[in-house]
Symmetry: C2
């Protein structure tokens, strides 16, 4: 299982724009300067704009601005905008598709996992991103 670069790039762009919240429109050029292909990022920012997470200003000196509150916008919002809702398998999305659904243990597990992951994604806001300590996740469990 992988999160694609869409999610990664998109999250980076949101992070970048959040940290330039009051600096006026940021050009694609600037945002992409960490090594993201400019024309590819352009597509991704289109998705973020259509999701209402960023706004754009066209023309010379134009660019992108964050259009949401970083304190209340979660990584789930961003990932959803970039990759569509999390679906761990087809039968999660289309309950009707699986005739064994009612008694399917796999389905119940899938459902639980989907929920946990979404909860995890929804638990981190853009503002939180700076505060996460890399080592924190490395603590061994109990």
């Amino acid at each position: 299982m992988k999160l694609s670069t869409r999610g990664k790039y998109g999250l980076y762009a949101m992070y970048y724009l959040a940290s330039h919240k009051d600096d006026g429109p940021q050009s694609l050029q600037n945002i992409a300067s960490v090594g993201i292909p400019r024309q590819y990022l352009e597509q991704l920012l289109g998705s973020l704009r259509r999701a209402g997470l960023v706004s754009s200003v066209r023309g010379a000196q134009g660019g992108y601005q964050i259009a949401c509150d970083p304190d209340h916008t979660t990584i789930l919002d961003v990932i959803d905008a970039m990759e569509g809702p999390l679906e761990l398998s087809d039968c999660m999305a289309d309950e009707k598709g699986c005739k064994y659904a009612p008694k399917c243990a796999v389905r119940r597990v899938w459902h639980k996992l989907t929920d946990s992951i979404n909860r995890e994604l929804a638990g981190i806001t853009l503002s939180d991103m700076d505060k996460i300590d890399e080592c924190e996740a490395d603590q061994h469990v109990g």
Copy 2:
């Protein structure tokens, strides 16, 4: 983001074999009878066998048997065998590949998420699967 059918089918197969732990070898035919393409499942069981999670008996009346303790085999073990280790993006797998790694907030978030998901997967054993209540995951969050 999706877990592929590999993970789903593989987990189903493990669940099936766990519940026929003492019934002798189970044929591919039987395991696949819920609607999984037989020849495809054959490939997947090969992966599970090579991972040591199932054993096989060849020849007539042959089939597959679970080769691990369902009480101590987690969904993570199964998913890893089927899909390889969870990687949320390239730069997680290849730290060297990203020259911005040391100060990359996105990377820290990715890392935290990877860890959370793995912990979640590792927290459910095959034996647990029957006990999961579908409604449990639907509780709204505080």
